[in-house]
């Protein structure tokens, strides 16, 4: 089986790669591009640890093929901070101790950023339902929700 050539954009950088036809975008990101911030927690789209956005849409990169990224704009956790400046969500996760082990954190941040882009003023319930696809086993979600709500408020004030 010959490999597929893909030209795409990842975190604003033009990227080309060859991948197998059945290779997931997550495996491409982790094993070919070296972007290991996206995690595989389940491989079945149930845990959200591999969350990225493709063309602005939140997806589980374990459920998408690498070949499907052709011509797309892919954003991962590695593209979230602006140089030395953390995204407000990243800073609020640290401020609120919203991570313990940190394995779910990249996926939760990518998903939360997508939430606030779609809904800058979510209720707690809306935040909880939007993030229901991202499993965290350490925190019980309390501090995560507080961090997201606090970041949303700060971002609304800044804009």
């Amino acid at each position: 089986m010959s490999k597929v050539h893909v030209s795409t954009t990842i975190n604003g950088d033009p990227v080309e790669y060859l991948c197998e036809a059945d290779e997931t975008l997550l495996d491409v990101l982790r094993d070919r591009i070296g972007l290991t911030g996206s995690k595989e927690g389940c491989g079945t789209g149930d845990c959200g640890a591999c969350s990225v956005t493709v063309g602005g849409r939140l997806v589980c990169s374990c459920l998408m093929l690498g070949a499907e990224a052709e011509g797309q704009e892919v954003e991962t956790i590695e593209g979230m901070a602006d140089g030395e400046n953390l995204h407000p969500l990243q800073q609020k996760f640290i401020d609120h101790a919203a991570l313990q082990c940190g394995i779910c954190t990249p996926g939760l941040l990518v998903a939360a950023k997508s939430l606030l882009e779609n809904n800058p003023d979510p209720t707690e319930e809306e935040a909880r339902y939007w993030l229901a696809g991202n499993l965290c086993r350490c925190t019980g979600y309390d501090k995560i929700i507080r961090a997201v709500m606090d970041a949303a408020q700060e971002m609304r004030g800044a804009s």
């Binding site: 927690g41 845990c47 901070a81 640290i94 101790a97 082990c101 909880r128 993030l131 086993r137």
Partner: protein, 750 residues
């Protein structure tokens, strides 16, 4: 330097401890830079994969690997024959057998062979070429069924001397605790309640699957990178399993993506080392989620009989429990801890527990947060609640009336020193949650929980750098912010600011042996060793200052981050700060460091009381958690955010155990729900905020009064939720999980 007085220390005005500083690994973890188990690679690395038994119980008659070995890109295939023969140590022998089956496959998912190949695709193809000839045997996965005399037998001759003759060979140990005369106690009761409770097996559910990268050279020197709660234990187990010397193997712990006890043993690590040895190449192995659920350790399922007597004014006259836990395919279920902890929150004249350790055709259990205690607390706390409510008594008052306190002879033997159970109950009673009104189909439950906590072998080394900053090296993987806590305790003791201390997790070559991150031991034991290492460094710095000043070193004290003359008689010298002493260390005797090695005792037990409101949907049986409050004794909360986080995380794992999570087996013994879609852990939309109240009753065994907090928080929620659901559904629930079909059926049958 004068020694500090411990009890004075506990009452000191802390400057750093108790604040909410930012964790040192925070930025790496919010930017995706942190490297977890699966995030490491090496030049020339191969991909390792495991072939697993599709049968719950089968004789392995033969394994033919020749076709797999002949496939282009396959560099090594291993089976049990590639590992050491272990004869004198049952635990290590079982660990090897669990990593790679010998004569029998003992559960669905049991490893039988493994390959290393140049790509994942080739490795997967090679697994299909391995021919295993199985003779399928009858299986048993239920604990009560496994104890039956006609049950399929996993092993012969594994029962220890505690097991009476005439029982199934699957019963491997019996444990008994207690004091007094149960029958005499029960005779004093106005009511004796007898109930049987059952809990399903649940998995720790860490989001990071097991992963490792192994490199072994032809000289037998090896390096291993892996996600683990205890890399020293990984080293010792792997060395034994591979017939290596411990000093030949250096293990580096990656960042760890959750463990909760489940990463306190080995699964892939010895296999990766064997594949690397055979192939001469680095080998990386990562489990899939279904491998994690099928083949790494969940906790035990249980079946528990309880008999408790109570007078009509709420005095418990006697308590008895018989606990049966299946811990999977090998001896070692956590039933002993269940039997020890079942009645720990109570001051009882007559108490007895009997625990039975049972094997079955399920994956070997691994520790799960307060192993064995949540199920036992579920049974006892459900029965106490039913009795209290039956007499129309306040369940918190009944618990206060019978609460264990300082001087109580615990049901498992020792006499308690200062403990915090009454404080948590009183705080619960005084909390607005307790008085809040409830609506239709709503109920409120409370329950108490206990955990022993542990100290153990611990080493800390602390270096003072020439510019006056400090590096703390410790040997316990940081599973939830412990590097921050160590830096805080070091800064507190040295009298410097938190941002001048950095704590790292050293590899196995850099420190003496450290016990695994378990037993809620790290903040307690590593904290204690950090404080003692800082004291050693301070003593050395006082000595250097004395040398510079030309006075006796006993005439120098350490205060506010500097050496000072002890008093006017010692001489008039301006204080020398840590940075000033560090800067001239080369001229006063060389680099300065402090270290401490200890097998720590005095961990200090911990108690909690949980309160929860639930609403039950009368049409579907679905249960919603409306409100939840945790009251727990932390001794001294070093970093309150992460103490609260432990309370909240434990409570939510307990909620999952109570409501959703279970291992589902069919008659074929095959796990039917090995993915997160079907093994459903709580998600954000299932939950409210989890309120927390931190009580601080200092632990006399720690310089700052710290008690471990990580495990106690999962002990009460099973019963607290069950007590709430029993009220909101209007029928007593005695089996977990309380999934909607079960709740609905119970409501319809009332």
């Amino acid at each position: 330097m004068a020694l500090d007085n411990e009890s004075q220390n506990q009452k000191r005005n802390f400057k750093v401890v108790g604040t909410r500083v930012q964790r040192p690994d925070g930025i790496d973890k919010v930017t995706g830079k942190a490297r977890f188990g699966a995030d490491m690679s090496a030049p020339g690395m191969l991909v390792g994969r495991v072939l697993r038994s599709p049968h719950a119980h089968a004789q392995i008659k033969s394994i033919d690997t020749s076709e797999a070995e002949a496939l282009a890109g396959v560099r090594a295939v291993v089976t049990r024959a590639d590992f050491a023969v272990i004869e004198d140590d049952e635990f290590t022998a079982d660990t090897l057998d669990n990593c790679m089956a010998g004569e029998k496959a003992l559960y669905d998912g049991h490893a039988v062979a493994a390959v290393a190949a140049s790509s994942t695709a080739i490795a997967k193809k090679a697994l299909k070429l391995i021919k295993v000839d199985y003779e399928v045997l009858p299986n048993v996965t239920d604990v009560d069924a496994a104890m039956a005399l006609d049950a399929p037998v996993l092993h012969e001759g594994r029962a220890n001397e505690t097991v009476p003759a005439g029982m199934s060979s699957n019963v491997v140990a019996r444990h008994e605790f207690g004091h007094g005369d149960i029958e005499a106690g029960l005779a004093q009761a106005d009511r004796v309640l007898e109930r049987t409770y059952r809990t399903a097996a649940t998995h720790q559910g860490y989001i990071e699957p097991h992963a490792c990268l192994a490199t072994m050279g032809p000289d037998g020197q090896a390096d291993l990178w892996c996600c683990t709660q205890g890399h020293y234990f990984v080293r010792d187990l792997c060395a034994a399993i591979l017939g290596m010397k411990q000093g030949q193997l250096r293990v580096t712990a990656s960042e760890i993506g959750g463990g909760f006890g489940g990463k306190t043993t080995v699964f892939l690590e010895p296999v990766a080392l064997a594949l690397s040895k055979k192939s001469g190449r680095p080998v990386k192995m990562v489990m899939s989620r279904s491998e994690v659920l099928r083949a790494s350790g969940p906790t035990a399922s249980s079946s528990i009989d309880v008999r408790i007597g109570m007078t009509k004014d709420g005095k418990i006259t006697a308590g008895f429990a018989e606990l049966r836990y299946q811990g999977g395919a090998y001896p070692g279920s956590p039933v002993e801890f269940g039997a020890m902890s079942a009645f720990a929150p109570y001051d009882l004249e007559h108490v007895k527990t009997v625990g039975w350790d049972v094997v079955s055709n399920r994956p070997r259990q691994a520790a799960y947060r307060a192993p064995g205690a949540p199920m036992a607390a579920y049974a006892v706390e459900s029965a106490v609640d039913e009795l209290a409510k039956g007499f129309g008594l306040d369940p918190l008052e009944v618990r206060l009336k019978n609460a264990a306190r300082e001087g109580t002879k615990a049901s498992y033997g020792p006499t308690f020193p200062a403990i915090g159970l009454e404080a948590t109950l009183q705080a619960a009673k005084d909390h607005p949650h307790w008085a809040a009104p409830l609506g239709e189909n709503q109920g409120r439950g409370v329950a108490c929980g206990f955990w022993f906590n542990f100290g153990g072998n611990t080493c800390v080394s602390m270096s003072i750098t020439p510019d006056g900053t400090v590096t703390v090296s410790e040997g316990n993987p940081d599973i939830g912010g412990s590097r921050a806590s160590m830096s805080m305790m070091a800064a507190e003791e040295l009298g410097i600011s938190y941002d001048r201390v950095r704590t790292i997790i050293a590899d196995t070559g850099s420190l003496g042996m450290n016990d695994v991150t378990d037993g809620s031991r790290v903040t307690f034991a590593v904290g204690l060793a950090t404080i003692k290492a800082a004291r050693a460094a301070k003593a050395e710095m006082c000595k250097r200052a004395a040398q510079v000043w030309g006075i006796d070193e006993d005439a120098v004290i350490w205060e506010d981050g500097a050496a000072k003359p002890a008093g006017p008689n010692a001489g008039e010298f301006p204080p020398m700060s840590l940075a000033e002493i560090a800067a001239i260390a080369s001229n006063t005797g060389g680099p300065i460091s402090g270290h401490h090695e200890v097998n720590a005792e005095g961990a200090g037990v911990s108690f909690a009381t949980h309160m929860v409101d639930t609403e039950t949907d009368p049409e579907t049986g679905a249960v919603k958690i409306l409100r939840y409050t945790v009251f727990q004794d932390a001794g001294k909360a070093v970093h309150p955010d992460y103490v609260e986080g432990q309370f909240q995380g434990g409570a939510v794992q307990g909620i999952g155990w109570a409501l959703n999570e279970e291992y589902v087996y069919g008659d074929d013994g095959v796990l039917q729900n090995p993915i997160f879609l079907d093994y459903r852990v709580p998600v954000a939309s299932d939950l409210p905020m989890i309120d927390t109240v931190i009580l601080e009753i200092p632990n006399p065994g720690h310089p700052y009064g710290v008690r471990g907090v990580g495990e106690t928080s999962i002990v009460p929620p099973l019963a607290a939720v069950a007590n709430a659901v029993s009220e909101s559904a209007g029928v007593r629930m005695t089996e977990l999980p309380m999934s909607p079909p079960k709740v609905l059926a119970a409501m319809k049958s009332k």
